[in-house]
Amino acid sequence: MTSAVTTKSGKGLSYGVVSELATYWEVLPGHEDELRAATQRFAAVLSAVPLEKNIHTGLRDQRHVIFDNGQRLMWATTFENDWDPYFEDFVLIGIEHFLDWMQHTTQYSAVSEWVESSGGVEKFSADNPDVDAHVKQTVGGLKKIVASVQSPATGYFNNLSIWTMPEIVKAQRLQEAFQQVLDDPAAEEALQHPALKPLLEQAAD
């Protein structure tokens, strides 16, 4: 078996608990429409992933933009934590969905070469019981490609940069619970206790 030896990725800018990764790809001639559809599928897959799994990936948001008259593609992300130490983690978690849109870029040729050397694309069919193992083996190739097209932002801002996703999820859970409390007719009296003053101050709206 042959395995790729890889080097570390580049590094985007960090802001608070998040960091950015922006990559720029060359679109294969004639593939613009297929690429557009693939990027929409990619977004749909992410939308369907339970929040818990997305916390696992660390991905906060992502977008694909086709530009230069359909010749180039930007894939930009916001990631919780630093990209650099988590690069392999993220790619490993979401690898099978990368291939769908990446195959329409010129940079995919290196991956496809590696895919072939690993037994061919049929090995990556969902029907193959060993598909997970084969998918994992493309990490090295993908990592190299993403790193090669990464360009750090020159400026970066994120409004929720002080909160991690688990904290945001918990804040949502707390808000729902607090509203349930306020809906109870006994809430006003209950919130008069001095220990609950901070909550009472939030109860007016």
Binding site: I55, H56, P85, K136, G140
Partner: protein, 442 residues
């Protein structure tokens, strides 16, 4: 660049001390040597090789264990060619002291405060010698010392005696060295039956790892293949400060034990909070078939074991965190040094006591350095950016949350309970590589 890999491990070439659990009970020593003359250094390695066992012939009942590693400065000192030295990863080339800011070795743990000569370019060759008891250890250390004795050009520059404490627990009072990963292809059984064996390339150079890749192997192949990296750290434990903090934050002895268990993630007996949430279970703690057989998936909020507890940070198992746990697993070896602080004593007696920690793995950056930076000295991966490892993290007055019904407990103003007194990155070559080093003619 691609590398042809063979999936069968060359167990007859891998140093047993790299992969096999240490003897228990144990007594032993860490020795650091400076190589002033490359020819003497090569001769020394030649003398040490017959004392080393490969994994293939390792007998778990054998009462002694010896391991040998070289720092980057040591590889230079022994005359490894520059083109070969350049193939080692940059973090290893720099050494642990140069990586201090990244590792969180700041303040009292900063290299300028390390015990001399740790962190200097004089630490070239490190020998770890462990035996089941003191008399065997003395014989073993004598063997190692005989290999060094009267060798002009070789200077012993540092030594640290280690021993199992009388109660078998580390200095804070907890049973340790419970968690052992299974390594594919070695036959080494992991301590958690719920964790699949890890790819050998996580721990040995030249084999496929958990990413499907092969880590860059130092060249030539004979030097790098079947080797691994070791990061050792002399961690001073502030036992009196630990007890004092617990006393200040607990009403009685039982609550102190409860607080300490929440810090650690296990009770003093070794029983995991995940399986014994409310009180210690010494029978469970003493049972190697059960004391690490658990996951955290049924405890997402940390009501049994806090999500920020030391043991849960070191191996989050199936808990939801940012990232993949299996990419950052480590073989961890802890050996106790210094006298125990007698039970009940709250005043620091000034003695140096703690844990000689050793990491073993094929990826210094992705394993040891990642864990130090992301899991020990940060909390974003568990959604708690203000918190660090309550036991070994750099606190700076930090906080620690203990989930509990009806209301969580939050501790503030945590001091540092552990100070790094120094350490180094070493390369632990395979046995053929050691022979190659001994036969160098540069």
């Amino acid at each position: 660049m691609t590398t042809e890999t063979d999936t069968s491990l060359e167990l007859d070439d891998i140093q047993a001390a790299a992969l096999m659990p240490r003897p228990n009970p144990y007594a032993g020593a860490y020795l650091a040597l400076r190589i002033d003359d490359r020819h003497a250094g090569r001769e020394l390695i030649g003398r040490l090789i017959p004392l080393l066992e490969p994994v293939s012939s390792f007998d778990p009942d054998r009462p002694v264990s010896l391991g040998v590693g070289l720092s980057f400065a040591g590889l230079e000192a022994i005359g490894v060619p520059a083109e070969s030295l350049a193939t080692f990863p940059s973090e290893f080339q720099q050494g642990m002291a140069a990586r201090a800011a990244y590792l969180g070795d700041v303040g009292e743990s900063a290299p300028e405060n390390w015990e001399k000569p740790l962190g200097s370019k004089d630490v070239h060759l490190v020998v770890a010698a462990l035996a089941r008891d003191t008399s065997l250890m003395e014989n073993l250390v004598r063997l190692a010392q005989d290999a060094v004795r009267n060798r002009s050009g070789i200077t012993p520059i540092w030594t640290l005696d280690v021993h199992v404490p009388p109660d078998g627990r580390e200095q804070f009072g907890f049973k340790d060295s419970i968690s052992e990963p299974a390594v594919e292809g070695t036959g080494i059984l992991g301590s958690n039956p719920h964790e699949a064996p890890l790819k050998a390339g996580e721990f040995v150079l030249g084999y496929q790892d958990e990413t499907g890749d092969v880590a860059p192997v130092p060249q030539p192949e004979v030097l790098g293949r079947n080797g691994t990296y070791v990061a050792f750290r002399k961690l001073h434990q502030r036992v009196a400060a630990f007890r004092e903090y617990l006393g200040q934050n607990a009403a009685d002895d039982a609550e102190q034990e409860w607080l300490a268990a929440k810090f650690v993630g296990r009770w003093p007996s070794g029983a995991p909070l995940a399986l014994a949430a409310d009180k210690d279970d010494p029978e469970l703690g003493a049972d190697p078939a059960r004391n690490n057989a658990f996951m955290y998936g049924d405890d997402p909020r940390g009501l049994k074991c806090p999500v920020g507890a030391h043991a849960r940070r070191m191996n989050a198992r199936d808990a939801v965190i940012t990232g993949q746990v299996r990419l950052h697993r480590m073989i961890r070896r802890g050996t106790n040094y210094g006298p125990s602080l007698p039970p009940g004593v709250l005043d620091d007696d000034g003695a140096d006591r703690g844990l000689m920690f050793a990491f073993v793995g094929a990826h210094l950056a992705r394993q040891f350095e990642f864990v130090q930076q992301q899991w020990v000295n940060d909390g974003k991966f568990i959604g708690a950016p203000a918190e660090r490892d309550p036991l070994i993290g750099v606190q700076d007055g930090g906080e620690f949350t203990i989930p509990r019904r009806p209301i969580r407990r939050r501790l503030r103003g945590l001091p540092d309970f552990v100070v790094n007194r120094g350490g180094e990155y070493c390369f632990m070559p395979g046995l053929r590589a050691l022979r190659w080093l001994a036969d160098l003619d540069t």
